[in-house]
């Protein structure tokens, strides 16, 4: 057994087994291809080229390029060229908005941040909010109206056609007219929809989302008679049970919930919650769990019933009067096979804490299970305390799965002659058994509004380009109903139209501009148009007081009590020859809508660390049983449908289940997304979109997967001596131990004081440093994309990622600990530590990486000659080399995404995290400029305030896990964190004096295991 296998943390099963593949990643700076330059032929060619370029060196750059200055003819008041401006807007995803603040530089949006004034952002974002920017400048976005028969057309031609067509339709009241819209919370769209239905009373309006939360909604309808939306206060709960609910990532309130969740887990605070997660696929929330139970997806409803049964029968919980109808089910549950899987510790953690626990359930559970979760919260006394309800908007809307079926039925019977599709992508993501593409071909006139000319648009008779959110006027509600205003940062680059504009056009109504429509909706509730209120709302991004009021519904069991008993009769595990395939959203592509976004394609999945692909995720024990290894291609069959997927072995997946991410395998996504990964929608048939029984067969072929999980692995091998000094990269403490004795909880080893080779430098001014709280980091990856956007980091593609050449300046290392079948997970963001004794600087032959007076380890691109010695000598493996000129063939549109404050690097130079030096300089110069011209004529700038400089990663973080500031100020946030008992420096024993400190993760396992 190698020394590693004895240690507790590991990144991959390869590392745990210490396989040759893993050794290669550790021992070779760039595996697999690192020696290509040493091939004799290429070496000679290299020398020839060198000779030629020496001779030509003097001939280039004879003249500076002539550069124009193009000032405004009339400069807007208050506008300062070159000073960034910030505008509030919002991004809606599947019917819930998150408020954003977008930075505009000379009229060009260059960065997206969360809106600190919006309750569902609080300044944080997720990766796709950050990546919205790249989509704006995506050259593959559709740029003009397309008429299927005649090709590209003008908007006016479409208007001409639409006017005639819809005038004719209004004569018949809209017979044969149908609309298929993606889910939206926009009050203006709801208003236009009402007008549309008034104008075309015969028309049918359908809404569809492939990853719908309708089971949650229908569960509430069962429980309360009407659909209600559940809101939870995660910061006030002592015990949180998430039943297959990924509230840290795939939830409309994820950004806020992540913040609340972390707020309830302050190791120095009075309460520290314990998170229990019961799920099938290892989710981001599952990776944050203190205790996790992996079960097949079909067993989760039974688990909820068994839990309530155990609470009532064994923990003395009193079933509230309205829930007596559940007695037979609870009785039956006692003999259910899952009953034994309900951990006694979980029951203890939940019982007897009225209002201090919370149970959440995810959209893959059945409506009955959701009704039961309401019963659980009621029994536990949580309703009105940690759980509150608001009414769902549009309560009579049929579930998405039903709506698409109704539409398909009508299309199949030729009842739809005109179909308007607003967004979505039903040809790709509608249930596969509907054959939506074929049905669409039977519709005489189909009009599609979409960002890309994708699978669906190509089957429609008209395609209208949709304006990007950063080009649009609009409005949307957040998870709690607060209206957020969407304002454009730039005129539509490709004459795109918004949903509102298209609907108004089809209605033939004035006003037809989205701005006027939104103003009309805004004024509607107010009596008279209120200019000041409008500007205040526009500035804040949110309309104050527009949230839905709390509701207090009454719980009844009439509609579903019986069904719970029936549901218990269903098998709780897949049969002997079958496997349970569990559909899930792709970590960053969600349902596939972001497939053409290179930033999101290259952002590694937080758990598998896969880029550019999805896979059939298997548990180690299942893979062993089937003798499958990572990269083996398997055929998965469900009835007549079959797909091929490469295998990925991930600890934590429930045995005999297959986790499969939707959203990949697009055929018409664009140049980036087409052909990346495999289309799992092909297996999603029928109404139930959660899981399916499938057969699995090996094909004998293999497929290269680009996973970054072993990239930049930090070499902790070596002598036994060093192993004994416990080079632990990630540390965690048990809550009990921490509370008992914080000073010794971390088991610090007493290293021999290092001998200084150089006289340490003084940093009398600011001493910039960073602190990363591993207890707050959820591993969502927003920081990675935020850094990419801020620092002009290129996308390199799957082939280069597979060679370990991804360029991200910040990466998130994901470590497993413990049993591979029931692992615990730690996420560790890692970026340049700006070591005071930087090893990279000591080996650079040309002083291309040096320290500045504040201790920043700066990279001087113009000096760098690309020896890569620095990367070789970096213990943290955070330096990135430009193997190619990644910016060479970019169009004028693509280069608009760049942050003008950061140099775009060319081929042959190293780069790495700068601590966002451009933001430091911007704040510093402005602080110095704010002069106090006192009586003696002294010109003194003010001091830089703590928290004034925020690097891009820290700003994007939903949980504020990253702190940045002046280490010379012990009162600063970062200074306090560096002084915490939880703080430790990674690889401190090398005496590199890193400026980044980590705060150890705190586990609250409790129970018997926790005591061990």
């Amino acid at each position: 057994m190698s020394p590693l296998a004895q240690r507790s943390f590991w990144r991959s099963l390869e590392q745990r087994a210490d396989t040759p593949e893993f050794r290669q990643f550790v021992e070779r700076e760039f595996p697999a291809w690192a020696d290509e330059m040493l091939e004799p032929a290429s070496r000679r060619r290299f020398l020839q080229l060198m000779g030629a370029s020496m001779a030509l060196a003097g001939m280039t750059a004879c003249r500076w390029p002539v550069e124009p200055i193009v000032p405004f003819a009339h400069r807007p008041e208050g506008f300062v060229p070159g000073e960034p401006l910030h505008y509030a807007t919002a991004l809606e995803l599947s019917g819930a908005a998150v408020g954003l603040v977008v930075t505009s530089y000379d009229g060009r949006p260059i960065k997206v941040e969360g809106n600190p004034d919006h309750a569902y952002s609080l300044g944080g974002t997720l990766a796709w909010h950050q990546a919205a920017l790249l989509e704006l400048y995506d050259p593959d976005r559709s740029q003009h109206v397309v008429a299927r028969e005649t090709g590209p057309a003008l908007w006016d031609e479409f208007v001409g056609f639409a006017r005639a067509h819809f005038d004719a339709l209004s004569a018949t009241g809209g017979r044969g007219l149908a609309v298929l819209a993606e889910s939206s919370s926009s009050p203006s769209r709801a208003d236009l929809r009402a007008r549309f239905q008034a104008a075309f009373p015969q028309a049918r309006w359908h809404e569809y989302e492939p990853l719908s939360r309708d089971t949650v909604r229908e569960g509430a309808r069962l429980a309360f008679g009407r659909p209600y939306r559940t809101h939870v206060a995660l910061d006030r709960a002592e015990t949180i049970l998430a039943l297959d609910e990924d509230f840290l990532l795939h939830h409309p309130a994820a950004v806020r919930y992540a913040r609340d969740f972390v707020a309830g887990r302050d190791p120095d605070g009075a309460t520290f919650s314990r998170l229990w997660v019961v799920e099938t696929n290892l989710s981001l929330t599952g990776s944050a769990a203190d205790r996790r139970i992996a079960l097949p997806n079909r067993a989760l409803p039974a688990f909820a019933t068994c839990l309530l049964s155990k609470l009532v029968h064994e923990a003395g919980a009193k079933l509230p009067p309205g829930l007596e109808g559940l007695r037979p089910a609870l009785e039956a549950a006692r003999s259910h096979p899952v009953y034994g899987r309900v951990d006694a510790d979980l029951v203890l953690d939940l019982a007897g804490k009225p209002g201090r626990t919370v149970v959440l359930a995810g959209p893959r559970l059945t409506p009955e299970a959701h009704a039961l979760v309401h019963a659980l919260n009621e029994t536990l006394g949580n309703i009105g305390r940690t759980v509150r309800y608001t009414e769902e908007p549009d309560p009579d809307r049929p579930p998405h799965a039903t709506a698409i079926r109704e539409l398909a039925h009508a299309m199949g019977h030729n009842l739809v002659e005109t179909l308007v599709i607003l967004g979505g992508n039903p040809v790709y993501d509608a249930p596969a058994d509907l054959g939506f593409g074929d049905l669409l071909a039977r519709v005489k006139t189909s009009i599609r509004l979409a960002t890309y000319e994708d699978e669906t648009s190509r089957a429609c008779t008209w395609h209208v380009p949709r304006a990007h959110v950063l080009e649009s006027w609009g409005d949307a509600r957040d998870f709690a109903g607060t209206v957020c205003l969407v304002q454009p940062l730039i005129e539509p680059l490709h004459a795109g139209k918004t949903d509102l504009e298209l609907l108004a056009q089809l209605l033939g109504e004035a006003p037809s501009s989205a701005y006027e429509i939104v103003r009309r909706t805004f004024a509607a509730g107010r009596g008279e148009p209120d200019e000041r209120a409008w500007h205040a709302a526009l500035r804040a991004g949110v309309v104050e007081g527009s949230a839905w009021p709390d509701a207090r519904p009454t719980l009844g069991t009439q509609a579903w009590g019986e069904r719970i008993v029936a549901a218990l009769g269903a098998p709780a595990a897949p049969g002997p020859e079958t496997f349970e395939l569990v559909f899930g959203p792709a970590a960053s592509l969600v349902d596939g809508r972001f497939a053409n976004n290179g930033w999101l394609q290259e952002l590694a999945d937080p758990l598998t660390k896969l880029t550019w692909d999805n896979a059939a995720v298997l548990a180690p024990e299942t893979a062993t049983e089937l003798r499958l290894v990572q990269g083996d291609v398997v055929q998965i069959a469900r009835g007549g449908a079959r797909i091929e997927l490469p295998v990925f072995v991930l600890p934590g997946q429930a045995p005999r289940t297959i986790g499969a991410a939707l959203g990949y395998g697009r055929t018409r996504a664009g140049r980036v997304g087409s052909g990346a990964g495999f289309d799992v929608y092909a297996l999603r048939v029928g109404e139930e979109g959660a899981w399916a029984d499938v057969q699995l067969e090996r094909t004998g072929r293999t497929y290269p997967l680009a996973t970054t999980q072993d990239h930049f692995a930090i070499d902790t091998l070596g002598a036994q001596e060093r192993a004994e000094r416990a080079v632990t990269l990630v540390r965690e403490v048990e809550l009990e131990a921490w509370r008992h004795d914080p000073a010794h909880a971390l088991h610090r080893e007493h290293a021999v004081p290092p001998i200084e080779l150089w006289k340490p430098h003084d940093y009398p001014g600011e001493r910039w440093g960073m602190a990363i709280d591993l207890n707050a980091c959820t591993g969502c990856g927003a920081c990675v994309v935020a850094c990419q956007a801020e620092n002009n980091i290129p996308v390199v593609g799957k082939a280069e990622v597979a060679r370990g050449r991804e360029m991200h300046w910040i990466r998130i290392d994901r470590y497993f600990a413990g049993d591979p079948d029931a692992p615990e997970v730690v996420h560790q963001p890692l970026t340049c530590h700006h070591c005071e004794n930087a090893p990279c600087e000591q080996v650079c032959p040309v002083a291309a990486t040096v320290h500045d007076a504040e201790g920043l380890n700066v990279m001087v691109y113009n000096r760098c000659i690309g020896t890569r010695y620095c990367n070789n000598n970096c213990p943290y493996k955070v330096r990135r080399f430009n193997w190619f000129n990644n910016h060479k063939s970019e169009s004028a549109l693509e280069v608009m995404v760049y942050n003008p404050e950061v140099t775009v690097r060319s081929r042959g130079v190293m780069e790495k995290c700068t601590f966002c030096v451009q933001r430091i300089q911007h704040v510093r110069i402005h602080a110095r400029n704010e002069q106090v011209r006192g009586e003696n004529g002294r010109a003194e700038g003010r001091l830089i305030r703590d928290g004034e400089i925020v690097p891009a990663c820290a700003q994007a973080c939903p949980t504020r896990a990253i702190a940045f500031g002046d280490l010379n100020d012990p009162a600063s946030r970062v200074g306090r964190q560096h002084g915490s008992e939880r703080a430790y420096k990674m690889l401190d024993e090398f005496n590199v004096r890193p400026r980044t400190a980590y705060l150890a993760r705190v586990r609250n396992r409790g129970g018997h295991e926790g005591a061990a």
Binding site: D35, L38, E39, P40, A57, G58, W64, V66, E67, P68, I69, V70, P71, F72, A73, H74, R75, V80, P81, G82, E83, V850, D852, A853, E854, L856, V858, V860, Y861, N862, E901, V902, T903, T914, V917, Q918, Q921, I925, R928, N929, Q931, R933, N936, G937, R938, A939, E940, G941
Partner: protein, 226 residues
């Protein structure tokens, strides 16, 4: 590991092909020229032709700084109004020109592009004279609010009929001042005064101002390069 596939002739491995032998007489000549070439390259690299000193492009409008800033005595900041707030000393919008020229020389043929721009809203395309490389992030506000006069980098613009680049604007030139700022500082209220002369010893005054304004110019790479 790499394997070097070399031809072996006798005992000596052949690294270069045979035809290289024909080049042997030339080697001496190349060796003789090499130092001359190197010196010429260095000379050329540092010459004004490379640093662009004296660059005086023709502007779309024959705007005279000599008339406006010199004879008329208009303060630099009337047009370059953002110089104290931000990195760019913005070239003024057409509107600024028309503030005066709506009444003064309203018919002048030289001002046709200005009047056109003002009426159509299309900008005038001026030519940048002082052009730093894109990896240099110079900030005007950081200099003019610390007592560095406009004239230090731009010379006597008030005496230029057409503006040209008077200083090399090379990194060495920047660092000369960052290392010895004393002789380039002036009282804050004299920053835009092109004709200001120090009332005594410049270095002595500069040292006092440096202390008074708390000026400590940075020589770090990160100050200008990001």
């Amino acid at each position: 590991m790499a394997r070097f596939a070399m031809q072996v002739h006798g005992k000596r491995p052949l690294i270069f092909p045979k035809w290289v032998d024909a080049l042997r007489p030339v080697v001496g000549g190349v060796a003789a020229i090499a130092p001359v070439y190197a010196i010429a390259l260095l000379y050329y690299g540092g010459s004004p032709r490379t640093t662009d000193v004296g660059y005086m492009p023709e502007q779309p409008v024959p705007y005279s700084h000599e008339v406006h800033a010199g004879n008329l005595g208009i303060d630099c900041r009337y047009c370059h109004s953002t110089v104290e707030q931000t990195a760019h000393a913005a070239v003024p919008p057409t509107q600024t020109c028309m503030n005066c020229h709506a009444g003064i020389y309203p018919e002048s043929p030289k001002l046709v592009p200005i009047r056109e721009s003002f009426s159509t809203g299309m900008p005038v395309r001026w030519i940048r004279v002082h052009d730093l490389p894109d990896y240099v992030y110079f900030d005007h506000s950081a200099h003019v609010t610390r007592g560095v006069g406009c004239v230090e980098c731009h010379d006597r613009v008030d005496k230029m009929e057409t503006v040209y680049q008077a200083q090399p604007l090379s990194m060495g030139w920047c660092l000369d001042c960052h290392r010895n700022p004393d002789t380039h500082l002036r009282p804050l209220d004299q920053v835009t005064n092109m004709a200001w002369a120090p009332p005594g010893d410049r270095a002595e005054l500069g040292a006092r101002l440096r202390e008074q304004y708390g000026i400590a110019p940075s020589e770090d790479c990160s100050t200008c390069h990001r």
